[in-house]
């Protein structure tokens, strides 16, 4: 009788242990240059989650051009969370497939953008072509590398930063901005589909005099590429754009998989001190003022336009510039 009780107690203990220490798997579908950021962040969050709940967590990552990644999720890739380059791509999850509610952007602080970045210029060491600002990119004989705005979120920020610069010049107007951006794209010899592809073209294939890219990607090129800081340098333009990569839980997927709580906690942790610290270390500008102050020396101060105030929001910018027949298409047809 005693033995029976003992074994029963043991058995129930075992099942209880099995039931509590689950192994959970999340899939984070992200855009191109966030690989390194999320490798660090996933490790930190898994440790945090283990300490809090005892569960083992593995977060899988998927990276690519932001638009392409959004489409994969719409087409059925089982992403628990998306962390994309711009709100328009996350919004497509609502507009195209109703995977998330329309008010998704209000669910997290700072418009669901836990970190920000901006667009800078990367040139070859010593800046042999003397590139100082956007206006230099439109000059004949300068080869400019940027990805295709149709497929890359980063490239849309690049394009709008250049557009905004032209608009803010004395006497700037839409027509002049269009001519200015046309002149820049005439100087583009290779149009990759994502930001990482363009970085490779510029750094490994040694094509081009200047790469328009994410600030974090430019810093990473200096740090991660062999002799990066001996081969390249960053040029900060007089004006750029505040890029707000946005994140969201994919409601339909987490409800089905039963991962809603952990997925939410995962994104919220991006706003924690540790999450913000990791963002700063990976050259994303932290939102948290205290952490941002710590990294103030790293990030140059410059005038930043915003998508909502200066371009009327993503929906409008998307329609005007990047839709079929939009300004970007007209630039290439005008040749």
């Amino acid at each position: 009788m005693k033995l029976k009780t003992l074994s029963f107690a043991l058995l129930s203990l075992l099942t209880a242990a099995l039931a509590s220490a689950k192994t959970i798997e999340l899939l984070n579908v992200s855009y191109d240059p966030t690989r390194e950021l999320y490798v660090d962040f996933n490790k930190a969050f898994a440790a945090h989650w283990k300490a809090k709940t005892g569960d083992d967590l593995t977060v899988k990552q998927s990276h690519g051009g932001s638009g392409k990644q959004a489409r994969s999720v719409i087409d059925g890739l089982q992403a628990d969370v998306v962390t994309l380059a711009l709100s328009a791509d996350v919004d497509a999850l609502n507009a195209q497939a109703k995977l998330i509610p329309p008010d998704w952007q209000k669910r997290l602080p700072e418009n669901s953008a836990p970190y920000t970045s901006t667009i800078v210029l990367l040139v070859r060491k010593g800046n042999p072509k003397g590139i100082k600002d956007w206006s230099d990119l439109a000059k004949p004989g300068i080869a400019v590398i940027t990805p295709n705005p149709k497929t890359s979120g980063g490239a849309r920020w690049n394009y709008l930063a250049a557009w905004g610069y032209a608009l803010k010049q004395p006497g700037g107007n839409e027509e002049k901005a269009k001519q200015f951006v046309s002149a820049i794209f005439k100087n583009v010899p290779v149009l990759d589909s994502g930001a990482r592809g363009s970085t490779t073209t510029f750094t490994e294939r040694e094509i081009g005099d200047v790469l328009i890219t994410w600030e974090n990607e430019a810093f990473l090129a200096l740090k991660a590429i062999e002799h990066g800081s001996d081969r390249f340098e960053i040029v900060v333009p007089s004006l750029s754009i505040l890029a707000e990569p946005t994140v969201s839980v994919v409601d339909k997927v987490v409800k089905k998989k039963g991962t809603e709580a952990v997925a939410k906690a995962y994104l919220e942790y991006l706003y924690s001190d540790e999450g913000q610290e990791i963002a700063g270390k990976n050259f994303y500008r932290p939102r948290n003022a205290a952490v941002a102050a710590k990294y103030a020396g790293v990030f140059p101060k410059l005038q930043l336009l915003t998508i909502d105030a200066d371009f009327g929001g993503w929906t409008k910018a998307q329609k005007t510039h990047f839709a079929d027949g939009g300004v970007f298409d007209q630039i290439y047809l005008a040749k």
Binding site: G65, G67, K68, R71, I74, A92, Q96, N148, K150, T151, V188, P189, V190, L191, D192, S193, E204, R205, E206, I207, F322, A323, D324, D329, Y332, L333, K335
Partner: protein, 281 residues
């Protein structure tokens, strides 16, 4: 001609099971090939003619047809003499390493196309092995239409070699010797004895290489530079349209490519039939 068609019509066959095997063939073709094609056409059926026309005939799309079909044609044409020569060397000569070369020919079949594209780009970029030699001469390969052609030539080569090779193997050297004893020059022997025998295989190889090149995506996007109006191929444009959630536009382009490729392949086969008939007559 007549006797063979009479045989075809007779109900007695050497192997039994005609009904079953034909039924299986049709069902298999239906599921594997026709069904996806029907789905493609069905997707575009939701568009009006005007929408379809703007999707498939805008200047940027037309430019992509030119580069896709043009580069594919040139690549396949280039592969014809080179492929025949390679097959000839492999069949007619014994040399050390012949088997290795023979196996090498198949590599473009097996290699993931993205790997081929990245490797070719690395070689032909201006700091690559070949690229840095061509750069001072003012020849640019990577990120130009020439690069597209290089990639398509690479993936198309095995098709010509592998279709010509077995025919060459069956073509006995005695035939050439006989021609020589009858007083034919080498050029005459080649033109009037070898070439007619090889012609159907060469045409098939050409058609296969061409068809493969038209549909190629993976290797080309790395080396082409993907500039609209210059080096943007139609398959890339389809992907780009998908990335913008324009599913109908993408399938409309797919339909045009399908119909275009089918028409060209059909034409090639028709020409070959007539050529063979003329040769027999």
């Amino acid at each position: 001609m007549n006797s063979s068609s009479a045989q075809r019509r007779s109900s007695r066959r050497v192997l039994p099971g005609f009904g079953l095997s034909l039924g299986f063939t049709l069902a298999y073709l239906g599921i594997i090939i026709l069904l996806p094609l029907v789905a493609t056409f069905a997707k575009t059926a939701g568009m009006t003619w005007a929408e379809f026309w703007t999707a498939v005939a805008s200047p940027r799309v037309i430019a992509s047809y030119e580069i896709t079909f043009g580069a594919s044609l040139l690549a396949a044409l280039f592969n014809v003499p080179c492929g025949v020569l390679l097959a000839w060397v492999l069949v007619r000569y014994e040399f050390p390493g012949r088997r290795l070369v023979d196996a090498l020919v198949d590599l473009p079949f097996a290699l993931p196309t993205a790997v081929a594209g990245i490797a070719l780009t690395a070689i032909y970029a201006k700091n690559g092995w070949i690229g840095h030699c061509l750069e001072p001469l003012g020849i640019k390969v990577a990120y130009t239409p020439v690069g597209v052609w290089v990639a398509l030539t690479f993936i198309g080569l095995p098709f010509v070699v592998r279709t010509v090779q077995p025919i060459l193997e069956e073509l006995e050297p005695e035939l050439e010797e006989a021609a020589a004893t009858l007083g034919a020059t080498r050029a005459q022997t080649f033109r009037r004895v070898i070439l007619p025998a090889l012609r159907p295989a060469v045409v098939t190889g050409f058609a296969l290489a061409f068809a493969r090149a038209v549909g190629e995506y993976g290797s080309v996007v790395f080396i082409s530079g993907n500039r609209p109006m210059h080096t943007e191929i139609t398959p890339l444009l389809i992907i780009t349209k998908l990335d913008q959630y324009d599913y109908q536009g993408a399938t409309a382009l797919a339909v045009v490519m399908l119909v275009g490729s089918f028409a060209i392949l059909f034409l090639i086969q028709l020409m070959q039939r007539q050529g063979t008939r003329r040769a027999r007559a």
